[in-house]
């Protein structure tokens, strides 16, 4: 593990305010989801999950077909569909279009896909004003941070911190009531919406057969971003497809409930293309940029392809005991929590952040709530296996490999195993039943030292089970 994530993790764990913010916010989301699921028939909810998974599986197995259908339909309605290999291509396109249309101000709604390619930063570096309009995103943008949660980007900040931030950055009075803070943001953002030249949104779903871009939100900012500016650009990963409009029913029900415990989010926009002749509003030009950025590589992997089923609800983060302690900023990429732990190594390479697949107790809480039933613990196990193989190829991690080799050999030879256990009981001079707070050198090293850094160690008993069993049988026979 390279030092930087460990430093971030330690800082997060040592900050009581941050701990409370993360733990209580995720706890509220867990409780809201629980209520929403129990209000619908739980068996029915299970069927939705099963069906959603099957739909995603089918769509990804036939992705080429559905992508072409989508392009056909949208093109027929006047949407310009573009294909981007990576974030660089997306940025180049947006910058070129902004130049051509003489655009200065870009409003953006919340989109993890654009976070993934750092679009806002790149546009600003090029001299454009690119503004996040989702409240949480707006807050983290003002703070110069990245989102710490897929759904609730500013979950790590308290209202007091937000009050200070608004005061410093917007020059307003320090305000700590969330509703009033929202009004401050709303006043600033309204003017920007009306003045914006280009609106950028993501897409929660792309409906192939009907040619629809579906955007789900609670604040109305995505609807404003997609309808007020003259130009609307949608940036979406190629995995966002579903075949039919009727499939939406399942996904909308699952997404709202899983993410925020809502039966349906406040706004669901089904966008079909630019303003037609005779229509009063809507953008004059609509572009859909379909982003690969490594997704086709995941698609090629039969076992781990299911990682692409994700609908970005954030439920796995909220339920993950690891995420709830280390928070989103401890993860190396914008995708945090269990889903981040499985997709980051697949996008960035196994050994880039080799610790990530190991940052899990494999408790399975994520898979239990995933609305599309991604088997996250199994994928973590697969990634660990692949990472061990990659390290073997690289020639690193020799000590651990040697240790597991010896361990396996001993475990296959019962007499040796018994001998080894006699040896291990020599590690300590046990004093009765008391658990050990420390052990003498040279044993105080490696895993034992790490264990003792957090809790006491059980003293090896005077006799192992097999010894006691023999005595018991001996007594039984006599």
């Amino acid at each position: 593990m390279s030092p930087s994530p460990l430093v971030q993790i330690r800082q997060t764990l040592a900050d009581p305010g941050l701990q409370a913010a993360i733990y209580s916010s995720t706890g509220r989301l867990v409780e809201k989801r629980r209520q929403a699921v129990s209000e619908s028939d739980p068996a029915e909810f299970e069927r939705w999950r099963e069906q959603a998974r099957e739909i995603k599986k089918h769509t990804l197995e036939n992705l080429d077909y559905y992508l072409e259908r989508l392009e056909e339909r949208l093109t027929a309605r006047g949407v310009k569909v573009l294909w981007a290999k990576d974030g660089g291509e997306v940025t180049d396109f947006v910058l070129r279009l902004a130049r051509e249309r003489n655009a200065r101000l870009i409003v953006k709604s919340k989109s993890m896909t654009t976070e993934e390619i750092h679009l806002t930063d790149r546009l600003q570096e090029a001299g454009l004003e690119a503004l996040e309009t989702d409240l949480g995103e707006y807050i983290v943008q003002l703070a110069g941070q990245r989102p710490s949660h897929i759904v609730a980007p500013a979950l790590h900040l308290t209202r007091y911190q937000i009050g200070d931030l608004f005061h410093e950055r917007l020059g307003v009075e320090r305000e700590v009531v969330p509703e009033k803070q929202t009004l401050i943001a709303r006043r600033t953002l309204r003017e920007k919406f009306l003045a914006a030249d280009i609106g950028i949104t993501g897409a929660n779903f792309l409906v192939a057969e009907a040619g629809l871009v579906v955007v789900v939100e609670n604040e109305g900012n995505a609807r404003l971003s997609s309808s007020i500016p003259r130009v609307h650009i949608v940036i979406a990963g190629i995995e966002k497809l579903i075949p039919r409009t009727s499939d939406l029913a399942i996904f909308l029900k699952l997404l709202g409930r899983s993410a925020t415990g809502q039966p349906l989010t406040v706004y669901t926009s089904l966008l079909g293309g630019p303003r037609l002749a005779g229509e009063l509003d809507g953008p004059e030009e609509v572009y859909l940029v379909l982003l690969d950025n490594g997704r086709t590589r995941l698609l090629a992997d039969r076992a781990k392809r299911q990682s692409l089923y994700c609908i970005r609800c954030g439920a796995c983060l909220n339920h993950c005991p690891v995420y709830r302690k280390i928070g989103g900023h401890s993860y190396p990429w914008v995708y945090s929590g269990p889903i981040g732990a499985i997709i980051t190594p697949q996008f960035h390479g196994l050994l880039e952040d080799a610790w990530l697949p190991y940052a899990s107790s494999l408790c399975g809480a994520c898979a239990e709530v995933c609305p599309v039933k991604i088997d996250i613990p199994q994928i973590l196990l697969d990634l660990r296996w692949e990472s061990v193989k990659a390290k073997v190829r690289e020639g690193s991690n020799r000590l651990e490999r040697w240790a597991f080799g010896v361990w396996a050999w001993v475990m296959c030879h019962p007499r040796l195993y018994e001998l080894a256990s006699l040896f291990s009981s020599a590690i300590t001079t046990s004093e009765g039943d008391g658990w050990l707070k420390s052990v003498p050198a040279p044993f105080n090293a490696g895993p034992i030292r790490n264990w003792l850094s957090q809790r006491d160690l059980p003293p090896p008993p005077a006799k192992t089970f097999r010894q006691l069993w023999r005595e018991r049988r001996g007594r039984g026979l006599s």
């Binding site: 005991p321 690891v322 280390i326 296959c412 957090q454 008993p461 069993w469």
Partner: protein, 241 residues
């Protein structure tokens, strides 16, 4: 004909908590089983499997299968080790059809201790007696992979003198996670503190679980904090009279 049961006590119980194995044997014998202990047993292979060392895990798993495949029933004082054998061996041997088949044949005869009592022996009252207030910790693999949730609670409620007091995070991980506990000790320890606080809020005198590994983690924290709360494996509770 008595039911013939082979104990797989798990390496952790054999090496560190032998009393749990003896308690399990006592309960099974009192329930009328004929209990044996195949002496060549060692480990199920899970530590290596969970750490990504599948080749080493497969070696140990093959050894396990050789030792136990002739057993009528294998009973295990651990949800995690049971699940390794019944749920993960198939994945481990995905490229080895012969051993995959041997694992598949054995799997239906491998039982976690509480499930064996309830579903095979069909008893929920073993005549135990323990004057204690306890709280039950759901170990993750028992809960989520084997769907063990009500069973141990049913068994506990039949123990005379015992009061079961639920904690608010019963189904949340204690942070053990095998090698996770020593690979990322700070995170594991932080998760453990959440569990510890939840246990202490109940005012229970003991924490009960069906997995010795979770109890080792929890007891380690209780001991470090100097809190006089006990940890007991379900088998130890059920063996009390």
């Amino acid at each position: 004909m008595p039911v013939r049961v082979s104990l797989f006590v798990t390496c952790i119980v054999d090496q560190l908590f032998p009393k749990i194995g003896l308690a399990m044997a006592d309960v099974l014998e009192r329930a009328g089983c004929r209990v044996d202990f195949p002496e060549d047993q060692t480990c199920c292979g899970q530590p290596a499997y969970n750490s990504g060392y599948r080749r080493e895990a497969a070696q140990v798993a093959r050894h396990f299968l050789r030792v136990f495949e002739s057993a009528d029933y294998v009973v295990v004082p651990s949800g995690s080790c049971t699940s390794m054998i019944t749920h993960h061996y198939e994945d481990l041997f995905q490229k080895d059809p012969e051993w995959a088949e041997r694992a598949r044949r054995l799997a239906p005869r491998v039982w976690e201790f509480s499930q064996f009592l309830l579903e095979v022996l069909k008893i929920d009252d073993v005549g135990a007696h323990l004057n204690k207030v306890v709280t039950y910790h759901d170990s993750c693999h028992a809960l989520r992979e084997l769907k063990i949730q009500d069973g141990p609670r049913r068994l506990l409620k039949k123990v005379r003198g015992l009061e079961l007091r639920e904690m608010d995070t019963a189904g949340e991980c204690c942070g053990f996670g095998g090698t996770f506990s020593v690979k990322l000790p700070e995170i594991s320890g932080a998760m453990l503190q959440v569990k510890l606080a939840s246990i202490l809020r109940t005012g229970a005198q003991a924490v009960v679980s069906v997995d010795a590994s979770c109890l080792m983690q929890i007891r380690g924290a209780l001991s470090r904090a100097g809190v006089p709360v006990q940890t007991l494996h379900l088998a130890e509770v059920l063996a009390s009279r």
